[in-house]
Subunit: 87 residues, 2 copies
């Protein structure tokens, strides 16, 4: 499955959340990562994030697609990373 | 089509970019909006953003899906908005 993750977390947790996400996904731009995951990897990522975020204040969105090709990806401005070339 | 937009722009352009995006899409969390658009609306949104962002420094990602249902959306932590209930 292909997973897009966007996080909105308190500044004191940004570094930890980014570090966790980077172990599973490719960085696209500030607060946004994506990549191919197995269901087990997705579960582990979600569990690690759940232990790290403040549920009263932080928010992490997962968009889970059957494969990357169901979404057309368009970048305006600077391409800060090109995960499709990394994967 | 269903469009997810995530922006990473200089702080001096955040308010203008958010204002443009809000006219077309529903706010989900910081820097992230989504919603149903016609192809013409998507083109207008992209044109407005292209006139507003600094192409050397800012980045806006569009994920364009044939319909919302191709992506499963999971939120960890706080649900800051629920666009699926608004649309």
């Amino acid at each position: 499955m292909y997973v897009i993750v966007a996080y909105d977390v308190g500044v004191e947790r940004v570094a930890r959340v980014l570090k966790i996400c980077r172990r599973y996904l490719t960085w696209v731009q500030n607060s946004l990562l994506e990549g191919e995951l197995t269901p087990a990897q997705l579960r582990r990522l979600q569990q690690e994030l759940e232990r790290t975020i403040d549920r009263e204040n932080d928010s992490v969105q997962f968009y889970i697609l059957p494969q990357a090709s169901v979404a057309k990806r368009v970048t305006l401005g600077l391409v800060k990373n090109q995960p499709s070339q990394v994967i």
